[in-house]
Amino acid sequence: MVKALLKHLFPRRVLESNLRISYTFGLGGLALTTLLLLTGSGLLLLFYYSPSPERAHGSIQFLEIDVWGGGYLRSLHRLSSHALLVLITLHALRVILTGAFKRPQRLNWIVGWLLLFLAVSAAYTGYLLPADQLAYWATQTGMELLRTLPMGGVVRSLLVPDTVGGPLSLLRFYALHVVLVPVAMLALSMLHFFIIRRQRGLLPYGAASGYVSSTPHLFRLVTLGFVLCTAVLLLAAVFIPAPLELPADPAHAPNPAKSAWFLLWIQELVSYSTSAIYVALALVAMFVSLPWLPVPKLERAVWFPREHRPIAILVLAACGFILTLTLVGLFMRGPNWGFVSPF
């Protein structure tokens, strides 16, 4: 029955030409695979994690040291979350660079952005849970940054009703991380796939011929992607353990205190000026509004369509900007956030 349900999420027939790996690289399907791995590993982690400031760090230590496979599962959970963020981003880039975001895909475009927002929220709330130094300072600065935005104070008081790292805020981040965000993500993913089915697959729509049945053609690929992605993450988790820093200590920030890699570009931006956060928000707004820009709708599916060249340049420049900021934050920031040579 699960199989039947899964089958119904995909179109019944697909264009044979759209099954080329070089068209989509299966990025959306791979992202769903990591989401399922996150759900599975997360459910197991629930058996040991204790969401109270006094016990959180200790419960992770216990999981790492005394539980057989505990450290491995935590590593798998963390790597899957990294993979999900990377895959969603690449998937979004694929959609942009093949011109597949105009009407009628606009609804799915928005659903996709909601999914990316939720994936980042899940990753961010997940970072707080171990109550280590990384967690504490990421939350402290993140919540202060939120306060500088319009309505940010309201959101902040919903997320942090007591103090950062306090019992109520830890419990809220926990509730968001283990129930609200994942449930929303799973539901929106189903919707995301269902909309594609309703639209009868990917561009071009309504081709006269060239369709093949999804069973077995599409599902062979889906299964292959699922197995490969799972295998790579299962293997990587053996070699890349998840770090755990010292317990949260409001008296001493690590020097330099760097946030998780996916937020490092924002940390780098606001280290120039607090209001640079609006640059980040403007970039996000630009990405989300792409389907409403006056560019022609495409009837076919190709990489780098000539009609969309300005968009490709704009988007790649924005990605280069974000990547540069991340690399500067990662390799060129030393004690007291001063510049250091990366070599």
Partner: protein, 116 residues
Amino acid sequence: MLGGFGLWRFLTPRGRRSSREPIAVSAADVPADGALVLPRQRCAVVRKDDAILALDLTCPHLGCTVNATPQGFACPCHGSRFKSDGEVVEGPAARSMKRLSVEDRGGVLSISREEG
């Protein structure tokens, strides 16, 4: 509307007032033209030209705890720099460090979280 209001009220409990005891330090412990840093209390007592002032170590930018440096204070999260009297030298912080009120009670300094 009513549901939203109810949810908001439900999710924002009344904060229990945290009673913050004043911090007491011996004036003799504060070095001449130097600072006594109390990381647990997130404050520093600075003596400069015989004047004593207390600073909150919370960075006025985004709330990291600043480090004492030979020149004054520096933030490890976004690189703001402050003079030893808390005045901001270099951003991103737009404000100087918060001063706390100090009361000299016969050689014992009483520092309270209220702004000085």
